[in-house]
């Protein structure tokens, strides 16, 4: 442990700082307390100029000698310990492994430090925000759950990965895509198309849509993970590629778009490096069914949850643009939502051959 050659990293210093808080408080007979920024709608604000969701300065205290917080406090220290272990050993790990690493039964009792992963995940997020350290910096990775295909070449651990030569399966986007882990060697695409659903990404990849329209196809299989968002941002930033988002026409699709564009409420502190304020909403728009003559019978009735969520979205600062209010209202008025897959009702290749070409040609998107 002490034989490591690496210098103590900044993150490790921050983690050790937590132990110092405890020690200092104990010295002065005070209740050890951590300050943790609040990760909720109440503590975020929309910066219109930057087009980003930014985290406010509200903090919550987590004290040890408070019955309600004692366990959380103890868990925070344990996770900090595990994270610093990762730093020293220079390893990356998953959220689940951290859960297992920190789980044990407390001595002389039959209480576990953690009962489920649901208890350890938020603690890790707490540490991310309170130490202002990125998850990658904490050496915690998420699952690889994104794919990319198109005229772009990466250098990954010294291997050359040409995403134009990976068939229809493409390259699996790693969860950490910072320059020191993933190098973008070359990119000749004209734009990035981020698709919500893996199934539609497969359709486009199979049809070689990216070759015809010279673009990069990205998917995150639902809510895109950090790796995918960060990669899109890098392509956008480093190669000046416009980013278009293709999602289902439902409140959840809208929100996915907004997370890509402005950042999420939960991880607002990461907006700075993840959000793509210039991203455009390509579809499916609530205007499309009429435009593209989708029959009513391929729609799905909005349920109560959908309606509640849609109304919630309308209240978010970043959905206040008139075009967006109209978009959501139109969906609520029709009472229907549409999946991307519904386009197959017209033709299996309708998305590739008709829908997207027309959208691109008419520059029919929402900002």
């Amino acid at each position: 442990m002490t034989t490591k050659t690496k210098k103590t990293t900044l993150v490790e210093k921050k983690l050790i700082g937590l132990a110092d808080i405890v020690i200092q408080a104990a010295d002065r007979s005070k209740d050890p307390t951590f300050q943790i920024p609040i990760r909720a709608l109440s503590n975020v604000s929309f910066n219109e100029r930057k087009g980003l969701i930014e985290m406010g300065s509200k903090k919550q205290e987590r004290s040890f000698f408070n019955v309600g917080m004692a366990k959380k406090f103890m868990q925070t220290v344990l996770v900090a310990d595990a994270l610093s272990e990762l730093q020293r050993a220079d390893l990356t790990t998953s959220l689940r492994e951290i859960y297992y690493r920190t789980k044990h039964t407390i001595q002389d009792s039959h209480e576990n430090t953690f009962d489920t992963q649901d208890e350890s995940d938020p603690v890790i997020e707490d540490l991310e925000v309170s130490l202002a350290a990125l998850r990658e910096e904490l050496h915690v990775r998420a699952e690889n759950s994104g794919s990319i295909v198109g005229p772009v070449v990466f250098g990954d651990d010294g291997d050359r990965v040409d995403c134009a030569k990976l068939g229809k399966g493409g390259y699996s986007v790693p969860s950490i895509v910072e320059p020191e882990y993933l190098e973008i060697r070359r990119c000749t695409a004209d734009f990035v198309l981020l698709v919500e659903k893996g199934t539609q990404w497969n359709r486009l990849s199979e049809d070689k849509f990216w070759r015809r329209y010279n673009c990069v196809l990205l998917t995150g299989n639902g809510q895109p993970p950090r790796g995918v968002r960060r990669l899109a941002r890098r392509l956008h930033e480093e190669y000046k590629l416009p980013v278009y988002v293709l999602v289902d026409n439902d409140p959840w699709g809208y929100y996915i778009y907004s997370v890509i564009k402005q950042g999420s409420i939960n991880l607002a502190f990461e907006s700075q490096r993840m959000a793509i304020p210039k991203a455009k909403f390509m579809g499916l728009s609530s205007a499309d069914p009429e435009q593209y003559e989708l029959p009513r019978n391929v729609g799905i009735k909005l349920n109560d949850k959908d309606i509640a969520r849609a109304k919630e979205l309308m209240n978010y600062e970043w959905f206040k643009k008139p075009a967006w209010q109209a978009e959501i209202k139109r969906m609520l008025t029709s009472g229907l939502k549409y999946e991307l897959d519904a386009l197959a009702n017209k033709d299996f290749q309708y998305l590739t051959k008709k829908y997207l070409p027309k959208k691109l040609q008419e520059r029919d998107w929402l900002d």
């Binding site: 442990m1 002490t2 983690l15 050790i16 937590l18 132990a19 405890v22 020690i23 104990a26 010295d27 007979s29 005070k30 209740d31 050890p32 040890f64 000698f65 019955v67 004692a70 366990k71 406090f73 103890m74 220290v77 344990l78 900090a80 310990d81 610093s84 272990e85 044990h104 039964t105 407390i106 001595q107 002389d108 009792s109 039959h110 209480e111 576990n112 430090t113 009962d115 489920t116």
Partner: protein
């Protein structure tokens, strides 16, 4: 019209006379109509009287002999009820022995497999005069209890003779009785059977014998039955009997040849219930007609004032005026519409509620004593409601609760500390409360859900009192709910006396009693929770300090002075959870059961509340248990006077008056270790004072 009236008066007379008079001929005729013609004369030839005994031979389920298991219980119950009623009426503290033996039918078998049993119930009661023995035991509907309005266990005079008849029916064996009315009299032995056609006793054997008991009665029945422990068993019934009758000494010799002893823990006889005259609101028209015929008065006003309670001569005159009947009319001549008007007037006149001294409740102290004796709990409370009236019958509802586990038992199951995997939880206590129901001190074991008491328990919102309760279910937790109805006439839903009928007045009283008990329990539960949460706080911090210190040490690369940090944190922890305050909440310092009258609280430190009662119970149990150590005086020393048991009992009796006079009866006392058997050393040292000394740490 006339027919309708007849059948109405027939149901009317149900409460006063056997309703097994010959079926009205009209009915039979109606049924036979569509078939081939039969003349009335032919039919008349077939119509004859049905004897009560014959009727019950065919309908034995009506009396609680539906199946062998229940039949065994019913036989024991009838014999014990009779014994207790007799003792109490004679003013004798009852000593009852119940013996159940397997009667081998060929090969000897295990009690659970046997099908034939001999039941012997012996009491120390007044005995029965020789001439009455056959009729009491071998004639249905014969006895002293039916014709008077007085609270007793038995009501109809069916019970023991029905049990005898059941035995006779299933085994052919007669009932054997030994009875002796005093040391100077001879003991008589009888063997009797019932002539089911005539409902008359047949005496098989009648002789004088030598009997070791100076006084009392012994009944032996041989019946077909099934012995099975558990719910609604003989064992359970006897145990519950002992709870509601702590003044009874009960010895039970089980078929497995064990001896279970339920000692007497309350040394006073319940006050003698008085006999009352019927209240006008409680009678029905047919009953009135019968009373008019039977009365000894020669004038109507005399009859009204003399044969009913709560009617003065003045009121009688008023009633006669309203009913437009002459004051001096001869009661025997009042019939038809005139009698009907009189009945209506009686019901409409405002008459004072009946006197209530005819009921003898068990009493809060005795209930506490019974519960404390039989049920191991942490908290006990009892409530006796003031008397109330339904349909002219006075009644009293009493309720009690026993809750929790004894402190010494609480720690046992928490020992196995296996690390828990994801998804595994602490095993939750899904145990539901148990309701024990009584009518005139007799436990009711069957038809719980049909019983008014059970319904009242369900409709009480136990959540208000700190318990869990799912919709329409019993409350959860280690709880025993005791409900007793004492009345001159308990309205059962059937002749087998299994469930109390659902009168609004009764239901209301039960609910009120339960609520009062619940409120006290709620106070106790909340107080304990407060203490537990303080305790948990302290525990939590102590538990986590270790973890936090270890993690900090690792973060600091193993260079931390661990012990120092731990010490500092522990100091903060105990400062934050406040030693003094916690001790208060944990009940370690004085206070007693605030606002909890008639309650006992058992803590690890001792007993609070009605301590005297608790010590008494334990002393009695100790003498009863053959293993008890002989240093009892040390224990009674805590009452400041080393009194033997008898004396303590007398003292109790003497103290009773002033205590009830203060009404609140709130006694806050602390006793020594309640777990005396575990720690024989520490029991006699602690003094009993109204303010307990703080325990030194």
């Amino acid at each position: 019209m006339a027919q309708k009236k007849e059948s109405a008066s027939e149901t009317e007379s149900k409460s006063s006379a056997p309703r097994l008079t010959p079926e009205p001929a009209a009915k039979t005729k109606a049924a036979a109509k569509p078939a081939e013609r039969v003349t009335a004369v032919e039919m008349g030839a077939r119509q004859r009287e049905i004897s009560v005994s014959e009727f019950f031979t065919k309908n034995r389920h009506l009396l609680g002999f539906d199946n062998p298991r229940k039949a065994l219980l019913t036989c024991v119950k009838e014999a014990v009820d009779n014994a207790l009623d007799a003792c109490e009426e004679a003013g004798i503290l009852p000593d009852v022995t119940v013996k159940l033996e397997v009667v081998p039918n060929g090969e000897p078998v295990a009690p659970s497999q046997a099908s034939r049993f001999r039941i012997t119930v012996t009491d120390n009661g007044p005995g029965i005069v020789r001439q009455q023995i056959p009729r009491i035991f071998a004639k249905l509907l014969y006895g002293s209890k039916f014709h008077r309005l007085r609270m007793s266990r038995g009501q109809q005079g069916i019970g023991i003779s029905a049990a005898g008849m059941y035995g006779q029916l299933t085994t052919g064996k007669p009932v054997k009785i030994i009875s002796r009315i005093g040391p100077k009299a001879a003991a008589h032995f009888f063997e009797v059977q019932i002539d089911t056609k005539k409902n008359e006793p047949l005496v098989h054997e009648n002789k004088q014998i030598d009997w070791e008991q100076p006084r009392g009665t012994q009944v032996t029945l041989e019946v077909e039955g099934k012995y099975q422990k558990g719910r609604a068993s003989v064992d359970e019934w006897l145990e519950q009997t002992s709870i509601a009758n702590p003044h009874v000494k009960l010895i039970y010799l089980t078929p497995e040849r064990e001896t279970k002893e339920y000692p007497r823990t309350y040394h006073e006889l319940p006050p003698q219930p008085r006999e009352i005259k019927p209240h006008p609101y409680g009678i029905e028209f047919g009953m009135l007609l019968k009373m008019l015929q039977d009365t000894k008065s020669h004038t109507l006003s005399g009859f009204l004032a003399g044969d009913f309670c709560r009617i003065s001569l003045q009121l009688a005159e008023e009633i006669c005026k309203t009913a437009k009947v002459s004051l001096s009319a001869k009661p025997r001549e009042l019939k038809g519409p005139v009698a009907e008007t009189l009945y209506k007037t009686l019901q409409e006149t405002k008459i004072m509620a009946p006197p209530t001294n005819c009921i003898s409740p068990i009493g809060e102290k005795a209930i506490l004593s019974g519960l404390y004796k039989q049920i191991k709990g942490e908290f006990y409370t009892a409530v006796s409601r003031p008397p109330a009236v339904y349909r002219g019958n006075p009644f009293i509802i009493e309720a009690g609760l026993a809750y929790g586990n004894r402190p010494q038992d609480q720690h046992k199951p928490q020992q196995p500390a296996m690390p828990k995997a994801e998804g595994e939880h602490e095993e939750e206590d899904s145990e539901l409360a148990r309701v024990i129901r009584y009518a005139n001190r007799v436990p009711l074991l069957y038809q719980q859900s049909a019983c008014s008491t059970f319904k009242a328990v369900l409709s009480t919102t136990w959540k208000n009192y700190g318990l869990t309760q799912s919709r329409g279910a019993l409350p959860g937790g280690p709880l025993v709910i005791f409900v007793h109805m004492a009345s001159v006439w308990v309205p059962f839903t059937s002749e087998s006396k299994e469930a109390i009928a659902d009168y609004d007045e009764i239901q209301k009283e039960i609910t009120l009693a339960l609520r009062e008990c619940g409120r006290r329990l709620g106070l106790f539960v909340r107080r304990r929770e407060r203490a537990a949460s303080e305790f948990r706080r302290r525990n939590i911090f102590e538990l986590y300090i270790e973890e936090v210190v270890e993690a900090c040490n690792r973060l600091k690369g193993g260079t931390l002075p661990k012990e120092k940090l731990k010490g500092q944190l522990q100091k903060i922890a105990s400062a934050r959870t406040g030693g003094q305050k916690t001790d208060d909440a944990l009940g370690k310092t004085g206070g007693g059961p605030e606002g909890l009258p008639h309650s006992i609280i058992v803590t690890a430190e001792g007993v609070e509340g009605e301590t005297e009662l608790a010590t008494q119970v334990e002393a009695d149990q100790a003498t009863a248990a053959p293993t008890a150590e002989p240093d009892l005086p040390g224990k009674t020393a805590s009452t400041d006077e080393p009194a033997p048991k008898e004396k303590a009992a007398k003292e109790n009796r003497a103290k009773k008056l002033p205590k009830t006079a203060t009404k609140s009866g709130q006694i806050a006392l602390f006793a020594g270790e309640s777990g005396a058997k575990k720690k024989p050393g520490g029991r006699s040292t602690k003094p009993v004072k109204s303010v307990a000394p703080r325990k030194p740490k």
